[in-house]
Subunit: 348 residues, 2 copies
Amino acid sequence: MAMLGALKRLSWELHELDLGHEVERIQGPPTPANFLREYVSANKPCIFTGCVESWHATNKWSRDYLLDKCGDTAVTIDVTSNGRGDAVTIAEMEDGNTLECFAQPWQEKMSFGEFVSYLESSRESTPPIVPYLQKQNNNLLEEFPQLRGDIEDAGPHWAMEAFGAPPDAVNLWVGDERSVTSFHKDHYENIYVVIAGTKTFTLLPPSSVYRLHLGTYPAASYTRVPKGDLVVQLEEPPRTVVWSPVELPSSEPGSPSAATAANRWPLFFAEDLPGPMRCEVRAGEVLYLPSLWHHHVTQTANDEGWVVAVNFWYDMKFDAKYAYLKLVEDLAAQAGLGPSTMQGCSDG
Amino acid sequence: MAMLGALKRLSWELHELDLGHEVERIQGPPTPANFLREYVSANKPCIFTGCVESWHATNKWSRDYLLDKCGDTAVTIDVTSNGRGDAVTIAEMEDGNTLECFAQPWQEKMSFGEFVSYLESSRESTPPIVPYLQKQNNNLLEEFPQLRGDIEDAGPHWAMEAFGAPPDAVNLWVGDERSVTSFHKDHYENIYVVIAGTKTFTLLPPSSVYRLHLGTYPAASYTRVPKGDLVVQLEEPPRTVVWSPVELPSSEPGSPSAATAANRWPLFFAEDLPGPMRCEVRAGEVLYLPSLWHHHVTQTANDEGWVVAVNFWYDMKFDAKYAYLKLVEDLAAQAGLGPSTMQGCSDG
């Protein structure tokens, strides 16, 4: 089909011109001009190493240090039964039937100290429970003011200078390897700093939106029922969400095999298209995740069983690249490969 | 038609999101980061005022000064009968027939002093002759080394820092109001500094390529025949050039009326599409002309009858914006609105 052929040529052109097939890893902080010219202007991801060595966060944020500084701090925790908050899920509903829906996490308030105990004890829980501290409302600056001095609180100085304004939000993420973030995009420029553990990002450029098999799903939420279990309930009044159902194959229970995944999501796993860009961001490394890139995130815990990260969201520019992306969405919709107006605004 | 509709929506989206309908005019030099973020990354033109006041060029380059410093300098001059070098022209051929072709200027070597006399005396010549000093081969640095100290020879410091490398070429332009540069694009980032007179740029963004009515024309050149007249001769061996025939209506002899132009080039003059962006760049002002923007240039002479400019060509990045543009060219070709691979590499 003409439209799909044009979109596929665009995907190849972009990788061959500029992206290559691996995320670049650059030693040391860039200058603001270099960062803007080579990465932001190009909407191209990059990992910068050796940029946050002077942060107390990278040197001091052990379990004991954070419990000492933040034990009594009130936090809001996302809870699911499978580590997949904000994801397309085949859920068993209260009536016993299963339904494919967009399942949002249950939220619970507790102290940070209680969260740490909960994260650790939940590893043994039956039925399974996965807590994740990931409230993306500027939670680091607003809920953890005592940690402000442990980071550059407007983000790495070269990023702040390049973007020309302080971040809209600075978020703290604490979880473990059980949490997975499904494919989505954010309308922000993202500087993602891993403090403990490793995050594995699987990335697709904005113009590959036609490969995500976007669909429309009923919105639902995990809810804790009186006897203590988590169940998935449809939202009332009903609402739908456009989201990608694509899962990455793995040997984890509940994950699809490579053959199943390729069969269900042929455009994502197409052999005649560039593979998604996969990169590991390790403790002390900084990922520049450009605005509107689709990303899926898994994580590997450190020796203390934790994954800790801080991210900075800066305003993105709605310029020529965004107008071009609208054209791509328009063509994808005409080719029957997605709705022309898309949603998707949480993060991983 | 679906493709054309998608391209038209892109044109509106781009102007509504970011470009507006007038080229911004900013007082004073930008910081490199601001210039990159707001203009280069966005591929958005801008005029900067008050940036080259310290250049000797803007203070000293009178007719007498340039004749004194460069009178004996050897130069190469473009000559046409109508001021339209590198343009689609309906030419009277030697056999008496007329032919629509892509006509390139005749080139003559002389001293700068002789050029100045030629430019002035040619105003009275019959048949008409229009000389233009515009050799775009880094002529300022290579042919006029004595003028190097009169400018920042790597371009304005903020531009040089933003682009991260010295320019590939620094060109000197000397002519008068009789010379017109037809629509074309350059594969460079362009910093265009007007020193004397005024240049009027009519601009279309790269993604409006489908509005230029690109066609394929036989390549020809002005040639001076032994009796002294300029004639247009087809190239041997034959070669074709893809170019835009669009001319802007004006009251000048030989220019189309508004009604004729709108009739011949309906997509360019379409009332249901954003108008081209028109801007006057005056002496002492700096135009940032982003890579691949289509531009048409006319000029107005100063009191001495001259228009003088210096431009700096910096390497462009072939990144996501370029890949997206290839998609647009692909769609335009499918819609029958232009060849999928285009040429066009001189400048105005």
